[in-house]
């Protein structure tokens, strides 16, 4: 088993190195090695996951040390991998979506001259992401954190001739770096406080009985308050998971090829922040102030992004803002201590969003690289596989019972309510209406009603090849069943994984959250379908239906005899009634404009001024002293 754990990450990096070296010469066969590497890694990972969730590694998990990475005196970092049930949960999403995206890309990227390069980057990303969830120390996680940023940079900017893609990739990397500064400082603070960067040891030292002790060698340093550490870690999470105000990079990241959007910017990389906070749950539990900040920023991001998603016309951007919004839900859950619900939503969203993005790629493929939904419509019959899978994903997103998205979202809303965060719950419900609305607006504008496709493209619309639709159907399975599976309370599934209890996932994650829950002093309340939980479910379902109906009324639907066409006039009248909100939504609340003024205009002026200062004042003083000496020297010579 100890050899299998590093193998999960090493297979993709081997695939990357191989493809980077010789991929150019392989032409259309360049995908074989990278896809095979990820496929084998998937098998290996599933063996590891099964071992983990059936208790094979015990409650503590399993560590595999490779070598001493940085032996700098008291600062000693090992290169080591670690697997416990939380890692296992992430491995399921990362490996499965990763593998399916690799397969899908064989079709999607088949005409691209950079075919080999694309698969090389994808493998590099898989390695980075796997290292992130497998890292044993904060610093290993940080390395992976940055490598994920690098592979994201390379993939967003994959079409490097496109100016907008080049700008988007740079923006993503730099905005991520803002969060990374916080994360890096958090890591330093952890080391100064505890003298170790091993994740479990340091958390134990920070939150255990002997908390806040400094190491003997660092007497000069003050111990850093734990809420500062929590907020610094959260800053890193905000960058990767694109939480307000660092959310601006994610919509632009849609400049990358669509499989990249599905894998990195919906299903895996953006979840890294959620993983990080969940991993550090005892630290957050010890800092209630920080948890309120997490919940507040999370639910605010959820609302902000949902409000923007309502009016966007680019199919991928709607999905991107939807991703932001759902990530906001996850942080709201993390902030109220509903860590299981957050990971549950992460997994459900990972598959659902992966599915929706790949399906949107199939749509874009069908209409010849058109992403504007105003130039789509009526595609349901022409690309039936894409339509059906995307409809499944959207129903799940809207929160209709028995689909994965319903279970996880409902758990988040229920937990926030029961934890007493009524304001988070209320905003969450509002966001749920908006979610149902914008998802069905997307379905309506894309698949229903009359075709608005360009006349030259219209006859060429075709369904994608099987290599692309198969991954869609394979992702639709977990998008439907995952929620039922993971929340299944007892037999027959429980005994299969060696447990019975509140729900499969909750049982898996129990040891991970035990310490955090103990600090919070909270027991997960029993689920009462005929009590408060039943009422909350009814409310969630009701708002989902309201949102869907509203979208149906405005954007048309065809269900049997209930034919109704989308009415542009009605939409226009509605938007005219709230002109400010409409413009704000359309212009994404002007964040890009604000950042432009702050960083390009003002920041650029400051930099230019400093350069002038350097060339004239700093340099001038020394040259001036030189010229004074020269002049006096000349004077002396005359004497």
């Amino acid at each position: 088993m100890d050899i299998l754990i590093p193998l999960i990450a090493l297979l993709p990096i081997a695939g990357f190195l191989f493809t980077a070296a010789v991929g150019r010469r392989l032409g259309k066969r360049a995908h074989i090695v990278p896809v095979a590497a990820v496929a084998i890694a998937w098998v290996v990972a599933m063996v590891v996951v099964f071992t983990a969730v059936t208790g094979g590694f015990g409650d503590e998990g399993r560590t595999v040390k490779l070598w001493d990475w940085i032996p700098a005196g008291a600062f000693h970092i090992e290169a080591a991998f670690f697997v416990d049930n939380l890692t296992a949960a992430l491995l399921i999403v990362v490996m499965t979506v990763g593998l399916l995206v690799h397969i899908y890309s064989i079709g999607y990227m088949s005409h691209d001259p950079g075919y080999w390069r694309f698969f090389a980057y994808l493998n590099l990303f898989m390695f980075s992401m796997l290292l992130l969830v497998l890292g044993d120390s904060w610093l290993t996680v940080f390395v992976a954190w940055e490598l994920v940023g690098l592979s994201s940079y390379l993939l967003i900017g994959f079409w490097y001739r496109k100016h907008s893609a080049a700008l988007a990739s740079k923006k993503a990397f730099i905005v991520n770096r803002v969060g990374d500064v916080g994360f890096a400082l958090g890591i330093m603070a952890i080391w100064v406080n505890t003298g170790t960067l091993n994740i479990r040891d340091s958390i134990g030292a920070l939150t255990g009985p002997t908390s806040m002790g400094t190491t003997g060698t660092l007497a000069a340093a003050l111990p850093i308050p734990i809420w500062v550490i929590a907020l610094l870690i959260f800053a890193g999470a905000m960058g990767k998971s694109a939480q307000f105000p660092l959310h601006v990079w994610l919509p632009d990241a849609m400049e990358g090829p669509t499989p990249v959007s599905a894998l990195i910017h919906a299903a895996t990389m953006v979840n890294a922040g959620v993983y990080l906070v969940a991993r550090a749950n005892p630290i957050f539990a010890s800092a209630p102030e920080a948890m309120v900040v997490v919940a507040g920023i999370g639910i605010f991001t959820a609302l902000l992004a949902a409000s923007i998603a309502l009016t966007q016309t680019d199919i991928k951007r709607v999905l991107a803002y939807s991703t932001l919004s759902q990530l906001g839900y996850m942080f709201a859950a993390l902030g109220v201590g509903a860590w299981t619900a957050a990971i549950f939503h992460l997994m459900a969203q990972g598959f659902t969003k992966g599915l929706l993005f790949l399906a949107s790629g199939s749509v874009i493929h069908a209409v010849h690289d058109e992403q504007d939904m105003r130039k789509m419509g009526g595609l349901a019959k022409k690309i039936p596989h894409t339509y059906r899978t995307m409809l499944i994903g959207s129903i799940g997103m809207a929160g209709i019972p028995l689909l994965a998205g319903f279970f996880s979202k409902d758990e988040i809303l229920g937990e926030t309510f029961k934890a007493g965060f009524y304001w988070v719950w209320a905003i969450g419900v509002l966001v749920a209406v908006m979610t149902a609305f914008y998802m069905f607006r997307l379905i309506g504008m894309t698949f229903w009603g009359e075709s608005r496709v360009d006349a030259t493209v219209e006859p060429k619309i075709h369904e994608s090849p099987a290599v692309m639709t198969l991954p869609l159907w394979l992702l639709a399975v977990p998008a439907v069943l995952l929620g039922l599976l993971l929340s299944w309370p007892g037999p027959p599934l429980g005994p299969l994984f060696g447990q019975t209890g509140p729900g499969l996932l909750a049982g898996w994650l129990e040891p991970v959250y035990a310490q955090g829950l103990e600090i919070l002093g909270r027991r997960e309340a029993d689920f009462a379908i005929f009590g408060i939980d039943g009422v909350l479910i009814l409310i969630s379902v009701a708002v989902a239906v309201i949102g869907m109906l509203a979208a149906w009324r405005l954007f048309g639907v065809e269900v049997g005899g209930l034919r109704r066409r989308g009415d542009p006039e009605e939409v226009r009248a509605l938007t005219a009634r709230v002109p400010f909100l409409y413009r704000a939504s359309l212009n994404k609340w002007w964040f890009d404009e604000i950042n432009h003024v702050l960083f390009i205009l003002i920041g650029g002026r400051v930099a230019a001024f400093l350069w002038w200062f350097d060339a004239n004042v700093v340099d001038g003083i020394v040259n001036g002293i030189g010229s004074v000496t020269r002049r006096s020297g000349g004077g002396l010579a005359r004497v």
């Binding site: 990475w69 940085i70 032996p71 600062f75 930099a607 002038w612 001038g620 020394v622």
Partner: protein
């Protein structure tokens, strides 16, 4: 190898090469220079193999010959972990630079190669000398060939750059000579008029760190003089303005050595002489140096953001990166010192490579203006791939070597003062910003009109050019994954230097003196601003171009 003078061999092998070139026809200059530098490199690698890491920072392979017995001046060489790294860095970059000069340098090839080899003698000598007078001699030897390399084979504005470079460096080194002599006199006086050991590094070090050490006033003045010499070399803010000019005018190989090795002379000097000879003064000056380092880190990065010229951008990034070296040294903390030394090595490798890469594109375009580039990813994909690698290495991507050094410095700084660390960590954003902005304008988009106009002259990187970059890339990966290789070697030296400085205590400086000092500096700045011909907008105008 005991008894075999391997250090002298390493120091003088390049000199033998230089002599050979002088007496051989010009066509032999290139192969002989490359051969001599490769042999020196191999000898330095043998030295590294023979070096024992576990000796607590003591000098190994020492050689001692009486030179000027009347004053106790000796020819004395020795190597510890710190100097070993610096020597191997020097010999590695030297052969790479000589190889990289084959094509660009077409005039006075004999003189060029001789200058380069003598430069190598001086640099290695500085790192190996264990006699302060010998150290000074080698220090000055470095200056002359560099002066020639920039002044003869440099760009259009080379005379201005050369004079500036020489003036700055000479002011520093002359003051250093005075300090060396003053220290020797002080030792001789304390030693009952006996000159024996007055220039011997180990004797002086033992004297300085046991008992009371040198007189506080002497320490402040001598440290001040050394500080100026080293601060100019590093270069620390505000003594850095010679660097962008020198880089812009220097030929590619000159820039590589300038950034890769010459700047390290300052950092090396601080650790070797500043801390160990004048621990009290080092403690006293530390807060000032830490503040200047933080300014350099942020300021260098911000100014790098708006540079229109590739070489100037890399030059200002050097100011920022070298700020980590002085910061790491003067927080007097093991992780900081480890990080500072790693940063010296890594900056040498990464920035050396970046200057080589600038040279590659300059060879083809005879231009370094970033605004004229664009779309190179499609035209010269291998070049851009290699450049991307070093761009991310420079931006501190973990897994590559630059990260480890900077992170260790930040970690040490955080333990010293979290706010100082927060300030320095901010450069993670700025560093990514200026490197990626440059890279984006070079690599992406459509091929620019300027580049299209070059037609077939714009070829991808050649195998020889790759050969100059490959070893640097390999080392950047190796030291990123296994920094333990370096940390084991320097462990003893770091512990010794920190023990030396820990023996010191802060000297109480009269507040009046401090106030007057600050007043004078402020007055000079104000006068300078007031006497500017007018507030020119030239800088911002150029940025927009």
């Amino acid at each position: 190898m005991d008894g075999f003078p391997i250090l002298s061999l390493i120091v003088f092998l390049p000199l033998i090469g230089a002599l050979l070139i002088a007496f051989l026809p010009a066509s032999w200059a290139r192969p002989v220079a490359l051969g001599a530098s490769l042999l020196t490199w191999i000898a330095s690698l043998l030295l590294a193999v023979g070096f024992s890491a576990g000796r607590g920072g003591l000098f190994q392979f020492t050689e001692e010959l009486s030179w000027i017995p009347a004053f106790g001046i000796e020819y004395k060489l020795g190597v510890d972990g710190l100097s070993l790294l610096m020597v191997v860095l020097t010999t590695t970059l030297s052969w790479i630079s000589i190889l990289a000069s084959f094509k660009p340098i077409q005039t006075r090839i004999k003189e060029y190669m001789i200058s380069f080899l003598i430069l190598e003698v001086g640099m290695i000598g500085v790192f190996l000398a264990l006699d302060t007078f010998l150290f000074y001699i080698f220090w000055e030897i470095v200056l002359v060939p560099m002066y020639l390399i920039i002044g003869i084979w440099g760009g259009a504005n080379r005379i201005y750059a050369t004079i500036k470079f020489v003036l700055y460096t000479l002011v520093g080194s002359l003051l250093m000579l005075v300090a060396i002599l003053a220290t020797a006199f002080a030792f001789q006086a304390a030693n009952g008029g006996n000159w024996t050991g007055a220039f011997d590094y180990e004797v002086l070090r033992a004297f300085a760190t046991s008992g009371g050490g040198f007189d506080p006033t002497l320490q402040l003045l001598a440290f001040g003089a050394f500080f100026l010499a080293f601060a100019i070399k590093v270069p620390m803010f505000p003594f850095h303005t010679w660097l962008p000019d020198a880089h812009v005018e220097a030929p590619t190989a000159g820039s590589v050595i300038l950034a890769g090795v010459l700047l390290k002379l300052g950092g090396y000097g601080f650790i070797r002489y500043g801390l160990s000879f004048y621990p009290d003064a080092a403690q006293t000056f530390a807060p000032v140096i830490i503040v200047l380092s933080l300014i350099a880190i942020i300021y260098g990065a911000i100014v790098a953001l708006v540079q229109p010229d590739l070489k100037k951008l890399v030059a200002y990034s050097s100011v920022s990166h070298m700020g980590f070296v002085t910061l790491g040294i003067f927080i007097f903390q093991p992780q900081g010192m480890d990080g500072a030394i790693l940063q010296m090595v890594n900056h040498g490798l990464i920035t050396g490579a970046l200057f080589l890469l600038v040279g590659v594109i300059y060879e083809r375009t005879h231009d370094r203006t970033i605004a004229k580039m664009g779309g190179l990813a499609g035209r010269t994909p291998v070049y851009i791939a290699i450049m991307g690698f070093f761009v991310f290495a420079s931006a501190g991507l973990p897994g590559l070597s630059g990260f480890v050094g900077e992170f260790l410095v930040l970690l040490g700084t955080f333990a010293f003062n979290p706010f100082a660390a927060a300030t320095a960590t901010f450069v993670m954003i700025l560093g990514a910003a200026y490197m990626l902005w440059m890279f984006q304008r070079m690599a992406t988009g459509e091929v620019s009109g300027f580049l299209t106009g070059l037609g077939n002259h714009l070829t991808d990187i050649t195998p020889v050019e790759i050969l100059t970059l490959a070893p640097l890339g390999a080392l950047v990966v190796t030291f990123g994954l296994f920094p333990g290789i370096l940390l084991d070697i320097i462990d003893g030296s770091v512990a010794r230097a920190l023990a030396d400085v820990a023996a010191g205590t802060t000297i109480a400086v009269d507040p009046l003196v401090t106030a007057v000092g600050i007043g004078v500096i402020a007055a000079v700045v104000v006068v300078r601003i007031a006497t500017l011909p007018m507030i020119r907008g030239s800088a911002s105008a150029e940025t927009n171009a």
